[in-house]
Each structure stands twice: as C-alpha cells, then as structure tokens.
Amino acid sequence: MINELMIIIFAPLLAGVLAWIFDVKGIREGVAIIGAAVPLAYLIQAYQTLASQPSIQYSIVLSGFKFEFILYHLSWVFAMIAGVVGFAAVLGMVSTAKDSYEWLFALMSLTGVYGVFLADDLISFFIFWEIMTFASFMMVLKYNRKASLKYFLLSVLGAYAMLIAIGIIYAKVGAFDFTSVQRVFYQDAMRSVMGSDTLFSRNELLLIFGLFLTAFGVKAGTFPLHVWAPDAYSETNQSYTAMFSGVLSKAGVYGMLVIYILLGTRLMYEFGNIGAAPKFGYVIAFLGGITIIVGGLLAALQEDIRKLFAYSSISQIGYILVGIGVGTALSIEAAIYHAISHALFKGLFFLIVATIIHRTGKTQFKDMGGLAEKMPVTFAMAFVAILSLAGIPPLVGFASKWLIFEAVIHQNMPILGGMLFFGSAIGFVYLIRFTYAVWFGQRPTELDDTKDAPLPLAIAMGILALLNVVFGIAPGIVAGELNKIFGKEIIQGTIWELNLGFGRYNGLFITIWLVVGILIAAVIYFLGAKVRRVPVTDTYQAGNPVTMDYNLTIRRNFFLPLKETLAFWLRMSFDRLYQDIGSWVEDLAETLRHYIYNGNVQAYAWYLAAILIILALWGV
C-alpha cells in the first residue's frame, strides 16, 4: 500500500501523463477527472484521521535529500482549496481543453501545488514549486510566447531567490526539514533575547527574508512583481485560469505563511512589533495594500474581460497579504478565510469567463452585451460571484472581508484600513463594469444564437457557487476549521455566527431579514399594475427613435473619467520598466559577444597573452 500523501500528490500527474499518452477524446477527459477527484477524496478521508491525530507524515530519500511530507490542519485547508477548485477547473476544461497537451500540464501543475502545500522540507517545497511554475508556464507558452516568457522569467527569478535563501539556511542549519529549521531560528531568537551572539546575523536574516519575500511575492502577484499576472492569466485556457488564479496564487500566500512558521519568532524579536503586529509584517501588509489599490484601479480600466479578472485577482490577493502581514492570529485566520473565499469566487469567475469565451469567442467588452437573456444559468452564477466578490452579505466574500477589516482596524492601523475600504469600493466599480458590458444592454446581432453553458462547465460552476452561498450563510463552518489551525477558539460563535468579542456577524439573520425585506418589497411590487415587457430599443433617447443598428451600450472606456482623474499615475508602469531592462540586457549581450568573439585570431591570441600576464602576476 503506497502512502496516501504520495497518492494525493502524484495522482494528478499520473492521470495527466496517461491522458497525454492515450490521446483519445473521452478517455483523456475521464482519466483527468478521476485524477483530480482522487486526491480530493483522499483529503476528505484524511479529515477523519486528522480529527484523531495531529498530522500525517511521510518521507523518502532521493539523491542525498530526505523529502518529507506532512498533512496537518493548515496544509489540509490549503490542499482542500486546491482540491475543490482544481476539480472544478478540470471539469471546466472538459469543455474547453483542446488537446492532451493542456491536460498534461494542467494536471502537472495541480500536482505541483499539492506538493507545495504538503511539503515539510525546503527542498521538496522548492522542487514542487518549480514543477508548478513550469507546468503553468507551459500552459501559457502554448497561447502566447511573450506573456509566458515574462511569467517564466519572473517566476524563475523568484525561484532562484528562494533557492539561494534555502542554501543560506542549509549552510548554517545543515538540514532542510521545517521542524529543525524552525527550531534553529527559535533558538536563535532566544539567543538574541539573551543578548548572546546568534547563528544568523541581522543582515543575513534580512537577506533571507527579502529573498523569500521576492520568491513568494512573485507567485502571489504582489506589487511591484505583479506584471506577469495579467498577461499570464489572460493568455491561457480560461478554465485552467480558474485553477491558476484560484489555487496557484495561493501557493504564494502559503509561502508567506511559511515565512511566519520558519522565521516568525526570530524576525519578531529582531525587529520588534508595532502594537500587536510584527514590524516585518508591515512590509507585507503595505505591499498588500498597494497591491489592492493598483490591481483594482487597473482592473477598472481594462477593455478585455480576461484582463479585468486577472487584475481583480491581483487586487484580492492584496487583501490576503494585508491579513497575513498584520500577523495577529485573528488576522491570519481572516487571511486564510479570504484565501478560501477568493479561490471560490475567483475560480467561479474564471469559469464564467471560460463559458463566455467558449460560447461567443469574444474577449473584448466592446463585442459583448445583453447575454443575460441568452445564458441565464451562467448569468445566475455570475450574479452569485459578483455579489460574493463585491462583498455583499450574506455571501462568503463578505464574511472573509469583514474578518480582515475587523482584524486590521482592531490593530489600530488606520492607513491599511483606508486601503481596504478603497479596495472594496473599487471591487464594486469593476464588477459593475463587467456586468453592464457583458450581461446587460443591447446585444450585438452576431451573438443572437449564443447557447448556454455546456454541462461540465455548468456543474463546475454550480459546485463553486453553492459553496459561495453555503460558506456565506454559515461562516462558522470555515471558522471552526481555521480555529483548529491555531488550536484555540480565536473566532467564537456558532456555525451561523462569527463572534470576535468586539464585533459580531451572523449570516443566518442577515439572510432571514434580507428575505423578509425582499418579500415586503415584492408585495408592494405585485400590488402595482401589470408590467409590459418592452425590447431594449424601447428606451428614452430624447425622443429619438432607436433601432438595433446602433450601439446603445457604453462598451469602451466605460470609466473614462477615472482614467482622466488618474492620468498622472497611469503614466508610470512597472511592466514597461522591466521590459526596458530586458531589452537593455539583450543589447549589452549582443555588444559583448560582438567585441569578445570577434572572430579575429590575433585578438584571441592576445586574450591568451593577457591571461598569461595575469597568471604571472598571480604566481610571482
């Protein structure tokens, strides 16, 4: 009997390879679904085990490295995110995936992400991190070279940063597994408190922290390393993006948590706190805050449906980082909660986008409109997702956002609080833009025979939408799991209620009273006169007759005034900066090669002479 953790990690990869080899339509989809379902089943089964014992562990030795894997509450929660959203995304891909290539790499990235979440030592963490990056990169490469290259370079940069950090730690600690690394840093912290000299000097600590921050920041899409995300998220199979943005970005979040787990105490003692929040967390938190604002504003100004949601997920990740950065138990729980809800609604959103693109073949807002009548099911899903992301009670989006708000403001962090509020408003803004341009208004005639979502996509969306609602009405379910991570009741309350002591939120009451209010309104509505359905052209245009020949809907530059207001800030772009650096390097390289390998043998002989002289000076 091979170990269940191994099954959880490698089942998707195996399925992917099989699907790739037996490239038969029907078979490969079945295999892939099984490959995505098996880990989920094992995780659900593992829940029973975790109730009795603290963790499940497993380790193997390979090329001199001991690879250790562990499944405990934290990794279980994250793995469940991967499991559910990954499964939904795979279902979606059944409709949208074109060839076995996509199956192979989509499932490979799922394996990678499972590995990252279950890894218990730095090397396997790194290796699965790389696998995840590589697989997702291949998914993008198929669609767009430039975007994929940008993504890969930034990711590999991050990965190498992580590698160096790991190496530095290894050189001092002599071990890779989390427990011993954590122990060493803890002892270090104690030493620094005692005042005796520490194993890692302050600067080394800063270096390691910075390197890790870079590594995880890239994957999470933190400002200013977010530039890859919009292109990469949009230039691939959108069903896959549900996984890409919903799960893979959570690997970066998980990494931030790993920083806490490993270096937390040491950093806290070295750099001190502000209030109850560690100073080093402030870096993360403020980066997160800026990410919220930048991502949100740019999302509002996009003209491409995929890009809008790409930026939106950057912005949402910002929330999670703020929660993590504040660094109290409550705020971290809030952050994980938001990680869950973000995975749920953003996965749902990208599946919706996948449906729209699958059915209409359009990606620009200017080509869409009035689809609500043609795709009612999809629109219903979109409605749930919109309310959830905009943070409308009683949906999961609000519960998690509310937790983050309370956690942050309770720590007396005014600026971050303001950033969060701005973020929620900008969420409204870009969502309405999406709603208006895609679902409402006048429908271009070429979309008149658009069909509704295909069954697999519909099922996938249904799963996620249902979870959105359930976890919103009964937020205590999630809160209970999160409390297990810290082993104490940080969020009290029943399954309906979150009670922080200084603030309460009850999903059930809100639902009830919302229903009551809507009933009252409905009564008034139905007492009124009968309504007559009119076409979209029967609308007031200063008395001008309206026909379908014209575009009644504002589809381009919907937020032009915003653009004008922000004109100054929009002029600076990190994306362009990086591209310039890239081209500089290329030119430099070309010049170098041109001058060094100039094909002139005398020059080569002179090199020899030069080296000889150097040697002589060296020697004598």
């Binding site: 609500a372 009548e373 905009a390 409308i392 609000f398 509310w402 309370e406 403001i409 007396n412 962090m413 005014p414 600026i415 609080g417 303001g418 509020f421 701005f422 929620s424 408003a425 900008i426 409204f428 803004v429 309405i432 709603t435 208006y436 409402f440 208004g441 006048q442 200084f502 603030g503 309460r504 939120y505 009451f509 809100i510 009273w513 919302l514 229903v515 209010g517 809507i518 009933l519 009252i520 309104a521 409905a522 008034i524 509505y525 007492l527 009124g528 006169a529 007559r532 359905r533 009119v534 979209v536 609308t539 007031y540 245009q541 009644l552 809907t553 504002i554 005034p561 915003l562 207001t565």
Partner: protein, 311 residues
Amino acid sequence: MMVIETALKALLILLYATFVGFMFMGIIRIVTARIHRRVGPPIYQPILDTIKLLSKKSSITHGLIYDFGIIYALGATILALMFIPLGGVSILRAYGDLILITFLLEIPMLGIMFAAMSSGNPWAGLGAQRALLTLLAIQVPLGFAIVALGEFYGTFSTYQIVMAQQSMGWSITSLPLLLAAVAYDLVLQAMFGKEPFDIMIAPGEISLGPMVEFGGKHMGILQIQHAIALFAETLFFSNIFLGGAVITAFASPIINTLATLVVLLIKQTAVLMVAIFIGAIFPRFTIDQAARFYWKWPTIIAAAGAILAAL
C-alpha cells in the same frame, strides 16, 4: 410569541422610518423652496407623488433583473434599517456592526444599478458609471471615518458605541472623531445625492441617469426606498457621532421610547438641514472634480482623525 413580537416591532419601525423618511423628503423640498424664496409644496407632497406613481395604470419592464433590482434595493434598505440601533427598540442592534452597516447602506445602490443597467439605456449606464465613481470617491474618507470610530471605541458594535457616548459624551466632542464626523458629513452629501455631488442624476444633462427608465411602480418603490435610506443614513450618523439617544428617565418604557425617538428625530433633522443648506447653495461638480475633492480634503481630515484615534 417571540416571533410575533419581533414582527410587530419590525413593522412599527418600518412604518415609522418610512413616514419620517417621506417627511424628510418633504422638508428637503420645502426648505430648498424657501431658500429660493418660493412657497414650495406641502410637506406630504412626496407621499402624494409615491401614491401617484404606484397607481399608474401601465408600467413597463426590461426583464427580470429590471424588476428584481428594484425589489432587492428596497429589501436591502429594510435590512440595513433593522441593524441600526433606534434607541432601545431596534431588532438586531446586537449585530449592528459598523462595517456591516456601512456595506448594507451601499448595497441598495447595487440593486438600483443592476436594474438601471439592465434597461440598456445609455444614460442609465452613464449614470451608473458616475454613481460608481462617486462611490469610489467617497469610500476613502468614509473608510477613514469608520476606522477612526472603530479605533477610538475599540469595538465595532454601533449599539455599544451609542452606550459609550451616553456615559462619556458625544463622539464629536473628542477631536479625532470630530474630524471624522466632518469628513463623514461631507460624504453624506454624496450619499443623499445632493449637490454638489449629484452629477450621477444630473437631470438636465442625462435626464436622471439611473432613474431615466423607471416609471410607475418601479419609481414608486424607489421613492419608498429613498425615504427609508434617508432615514437610515441620518439615523446612523446621529447614532455614531451625535450620541444617539437612549432615554431611561421616565417610568414607562413607552414614554422612554417616544422620548428617544423625538431626540433622535431632532438630531436627524439637524443632520438633514446641513445637507440641505450645502446642497441648496452649491453648483454641481463634474465627476473627476468630485473625485479629486474627496481624495484631497475629506480624506486628509478623516485620515488625520483616524491616525489621532490610533495613537
């Protein structure tokens, strides 16, 4: 029994809020008229308007969302109302969380936007866009004001804040919250949709923006929603900044409640008056001017308040 009592209470609150809300709308029109040296309509005029609109004999719809958005807006407003402490008689005051109420006061607009945009009228779209950008603009000072409150009192429960004010005086008597209150009041101006921030419904320019397609009972429901929202927003403001009111001086709870309501009514009217006066004498900002304004002064004031409260 419990349920019936609650339901009765809720109904009473609802009726009271609606009635007072309509009165407020009437007051707005009268006072504005007086400032214009006009006679102005009778104070019950908004009620007549609503009855007329509801009694229209024909009415159109642009689809399911067009109707549902309206209903949702009113429902959400009623929901918000239930969470705001109204002296001692509100239903869910125990769950009246600052953040929650702030969100709840915003979501009716979402419903209206959905309905308006589903009509496909370009002016409705334009109005929605402007309304959203106004929302975006006010969100920053609003957020800072809320943050200041939360940090100052260390709790998010509106009711506890009211109680605290009973003992330690109104919020605006302390500097940080005074700043927050100033910023919040500027925000209220946009929440009421009064000048100078009513570009979203600019009647002459985009013919009421989001409202352009609503007629008959849709508009009537929106009038009711507007009335309740007016009541709720003023009530919220006077609760968190003007000390609310919890009167226990008299023996019988009935009289206590009535006295509470009266006190609250006075405070709400005061809040309303400020808004009217500002609105009556100012011209209209374009949307980017409004955004720049809100992101400059109110934000600075509110942020100062929040930071002071944090220290």
